[in-house]
């Protein structure tokens, strides 16, 4: 039986308290314990970016962080984006530019793109590509994704 530890954190603006196994990844905690299945589990070793969420305002791989490490943190997932003006703008731009096909990578793409926008990133396509370089889209829809991010950042089509 795995060791368990009590954690208290804020997820999408709401306080959450749970007792978690110490070996549980943050993304599994979000999906299984909280039912927030918008964050996806892809490779589980930090390569694909599908599980990217914001922890204390910075994008992180939720498969490379333990739930217990998020004790005291502020976590934002794609389910919390309705509270954020730039996030809603990004979601609308993804829809407008057809920046998703199967949608599996989209929550992680949005998390990385949102960090770029909130840090004041501009419409420079190379800079956008570098910021999104850790997020895989296996439908190969990168062109449209960069279009969408650039349109929100300014300077895009």
């Amino acid at each position: 039986m795995s060791e368990r530890i009590d954690i208290a954190l804020t997820v999408n603006g709401e306080p959450v308290e749970r007792r978690v196994p110490v070996r549980q990844n943050l993304v599994d905690f979000l999906r299984v314990d909280l039912g927030l299945t918008g964050s996806h589990v892809g490779c589980e070793h930090g390569v694909c970016g599908a599980c990217t969420v914001a922890v204390n305002g910075s994008s992180v791989r939720a498969c490379l962080m333990l739930a217990v490490q998020a004790d005291g943190a502020i976590v934002t997932t794609v389910e919390g984006y309705s509270q954020s003006v730039p996030a809603r703008a990004l979601q609308a731009a993804f829809e407008q530019h057809n920046a998703l096909q199967c949608g599996f990578c989209t929550p992680g793409m949005l998390a990385s793109a949102l960090e770029y926008i909130e840090a004041g990133g501009n419409g420079d396509r190379q800079a956008i590509r570098e910021h999104l370089s850790g997020n895989y889209c296996r439908c190969t829809g990168y062109q449209a994704i960069v279009d969408a991010v650039a349109s929100v950042a300014g300077g895009g089509p």
Binding site: V22, R23, Q24, H45, S58, S59, R61, L64, S133, G134
Partner: protein
């Protein structure tokens, strides 16, 4: 996959962390987790005690003590945002954007990279090029190991099992600098890379051998000569007598070729591209 089970401890001081290391048969230190967590998820690492260093304030931060002191748990994103690093360690500013991707840089730490000693990682080569010192703390106190004596082989360092990397001391100066990295895709593991401090000079390669390595013979060719002279540069490249090693994708002979390519490119325009592609 998910990590196998372990006992989890989160000390709040270095002293407490060192004591906890002694409690396990196979303890491991969790820094940023951007290499250890994948290894645990893939079940290549199976610590019985995981000692999480993320809640130890004395391991954090960057300060100016004549040299730049960087706490081991300082994250790549914090280094990139630091005015001290920007002013005094331009080689870091050139190299760190090549370290993986933003979400990894938000968690990964300089001490974690130093302790892991991945042969393709940028940080060990930066520390060699800048003549940095690794500060270790263990049950019998603190000791300081020059980067030149720290990296011993693939994932092998001079750190003892009961020691923690607590800080890195990096001298100021040493410029002008050069840096170049070949990767299949931005942020991927380096196929080959080099960091150069031209004043001494110190040349350190990564991704071409079983560890980050200095190139003393090439340094001797460049010392006191003009690196922009093609004959000098060709001589330095011809003198590269490193312990080249192949990997899954590349033979040792090709690594030797890459080493010449990256050195030539790093010295072509030292610092024209601070945030290189």
């Amino acid at each position: 996959m998910k990590a196998p089970d372990f006992a989890y401890r989160r000390p709040t001081s270095i002293r407490e962390a060192i004591a906890l290391i002694g409690e396990g048969e196979d303890p491991m230190l969790l820094a940023g987790g951007q290499s250890l967590m994948p290894m645990m998820n893939l079940r290549m690492a199976r610590p019985d005690i995981l000692v999480d260093l993320n809640r130890i304030p004395e391991l954090r931060g960057i300060r100016d003590d004549g040299h730049i002191v960087i706490g081991a748990m300082t994250r790549y994103s914090e280094l990139l945002a630091s005015p001290l690093v920007r002013e005094h360690l331009p080689l870091f500013m050139a190299a760190l954007p090549h370290v993986a991707h933003p979400a990894i840089r938000n968690r990964g730490t300089i001490g974690g990279s130093v302790a892991l000693a991945d042969p393709a990682a940028e940080i060990p080569a930066l520390l060699l090029a800048l003549g940095a010192t690794v500060v270790l703390q263990g049950p019998s106190g603190e000791r300081r190991v020059p980067a030149d004596d720290f990296f011993l082989g693939i994932y092998e360092t001079a750190r003892e099992a009961d020691e923690i990397v607590v800080a890195i001391h990096v001298p100021k100066g040493g410029g002008p600098f050069g840096f170049y990295e070949l990767a299949r895709r931005h942020g991927d593991y380096a196929m080959a890379g080099v960091a150069v401090a031209l004043s001494e000079p110190r040349i350190a390669f990564f991704g071409v051998a079983d560890r980050a390595v200095r190139a003393p013979a090439a340094e001797a060719v460049l010392r006191g000569r003009n690196h922009a002279d093609p004959r000098v540069l060709d001589g330095a490249i011809a003198a590269l007598d490193l312990p080249f090693g192949g990997d899954l994708h590349t033979s040792a002979e090709t690594k030797r070729h890459y080493a010449g390519v990256v050195l030539r490119r790093a010295l072509a325009e030292p610092w024209s591209e601070l945030v290189a592609a």
